[in-house]
Chain length 324, copies 2
């Protein structure tokens, strides 16, 4: 069990630290990278050595976060993790650091302790909101680059202020970051709007695969290796596809099956107010947030869908009733 | 030429008025309806008689704005328009009121004067932002219903805080409206996420029609009467389709051609930082905002596309150069 600490206690610990290694989660998203690079930049303003590492390459669309940052190589003396809900999410390359992690800053309600000290606030729509508070406690002025990083984290994790995890504080922080120079519109365009033609083709194939169950309350969309090859889509083209099934009228539980190279499936579950995605995925060895969670399953398509539906019936008795 | 007045002057005029008829624009959207119903509710709190009218039926998804409002019938003594950029946009049924309009509150840079007094602020992402200020000047506390209306106006006109017309003030007002009880998440889900299966089918057909010109800088998507019939989509299923062409990587000017029953085409033009949609449509007898504008054209598909491309070359010389 980690020590639960406040944002200002975290800032005190960071003030005393140097040669800081910042861990982000695997398959990095806007929040883990935005949190990591904003914190790294703030620590460097304080004259500290700091760098961000990730198990996977950083997708091109996030590269602006690193613009103008010099490379620093040093033997880490302090390990900090951001937006990492579970040591396993560090990915194979970074898991050895889990036991050395002195501080983790996270917003996942499903967080599993692995660090010495933990700042956890599941009311925050994004870890970047906590990082903004940490930077303020460090007494560092948020510059344009930090603002871009933090805005990205907040916008991506709240679906551009659309999801239920958006609060008045989320909007106020967005206002503050825009005033600090965040390039909100180009960031949003890059994160939410721009699709490659390959992505467009993949999306169309995926939508055509959509199947409905339980009177249209459950929608399942499939993304196969074959679709990836036919469309010419890359891994990063998958982002933003998993919300689609839940966006169909009447759907309570939207599921995306993503076939992996080894034949297993990465499952993404999205829900509205009527179902808890983290609870459903928790029954299958996964986890996440109430409205968006995931797990990994192996088997035939039919087996996987039936397995998911059983978990849904257990978690959402009203759907089980409609089945009978 | 109308008298340009401030928000507080508009509030003073409204304080002296009664039996107030509030005009919204035809083919109503979230901003004109949200502005109209929020203002109407605030005026009723002051004990005044007020009602909102529109040339067209109110789409079902906006019906929550009217919940719990009693019908009021009265002979209008004061006519006010909200979010109406041009008297022609009142629609045939309401145009007779244009000459009687004492006050218009609007945010369209392309506004054409038709009213006696005009509050115009093109810096505001939505007319609803001006209405919030008017309500505050009226001394009325924003209740949950008004907050829902105003939030809807702001969210829909800024693409849920995604477009370049979003400012720190937009976010602060969203925070304020959430604190006043706005049901942000269900509103956003209804406005942006939920698609009927018919809409999904229409979207797929429309995307398949997409053609690219000028090295992929111009994208044209077509929505025909036949597609509408085949997909079973209704008029309101069209909302949110016009941004799609500009969302393809590399596209500067995204165009949607919507075939109307008489064979003519309603054209929607969306642009990024490199082109001005209002300028392009202005050359063709239309208008709108810098990033989103429209016009109506008749002719064959080829004629219309060629006509649009000429207007684009005139307005965006860099594209004309790439053509040569």
């Amino acid at each position: 069990m980690s020590e639960r600490i406040t944002v200002s206690q975290a800032a005190e610990i960071l003030k005393d630290a140097d040669r800081i290694l910042i861990l982000t989660h695997q398959f990095p998203d806007g929040d883990t990278l935005g949190s990591g690079y904003a914190l790294c930049r703030a620590l460097r303003v304080l004259g500290k050595q700091a760098r961000v590492i990730c198990n996977d390459p950083i997708p091109e669309k996030y590269e602006y976060m690193i613009d103008g940052m010099e490379e620093q190589t040093f033997e880490p003396a302090f390990v900090c993790a951001v937006d990492v809900a579970d040591s396993r999410l560090l990915g194979e390359g970074l898991e050895p650091y889990a036991a050395q992690t002195v501080l983790c800053i996270d917003h996942h309600g499903s967080h599993r302790d692995f660090e010495k000290n933990l700042v956890l606030d599941a009311e925050m729509g994004a870890t970047a909101m906590l990082i903004l508070q940490v930077i303020e406690e460090l007494g560092v002025a948020v510059d344009t680059a930090m603002a871009d990083c933090l805005y990205t984290g907040i916008a991506t994790d709240t679906g551009c202020f659309k999801y239920s995890n958006t609060t008045p504080l989320t909007h106020r922080m967005a206002a503050q970051l825009m005033e600090a120079g965040a390039h909100a519109e180009p960031i949003n365009r890059a994160m939410f709007d721009i699709k490659s033609r390959a992505r467009l083709a993949l999306e169309q194939q995926a939508l055509q695969s959509m199947e409905f169950y339980d009177g249209g309350r459950v929608a399942v969309m499939k993304i196969t290796e074959k679709m990836m090859q036919q469309s010419g889509a890359a891994e990063f083209d998958l982002e933003g596809l998993s919300p689609l099934p839940r966006q169909i009228e009447g759907v309570w539980v939207g599921i995306t099956l993503r076939q992996k190279a080894d034949g297993s499936y990465k499952i993404s579950v999205r829900t509205g107010a009527h179902a808890d995605a983290a609870a459903i995925c928790g029954l299958l060895g996964g986890g996440g947030h109430a409205r968006a969670a995931g797990c990994t399953l192996s088997g035939s398509d039919e087996q996987i869908v039936s397995c998911l539906r059983e978990a849904i019936y257990t978690s959402v008795p009203r759907l089980a009733e409609s089945k009978r």
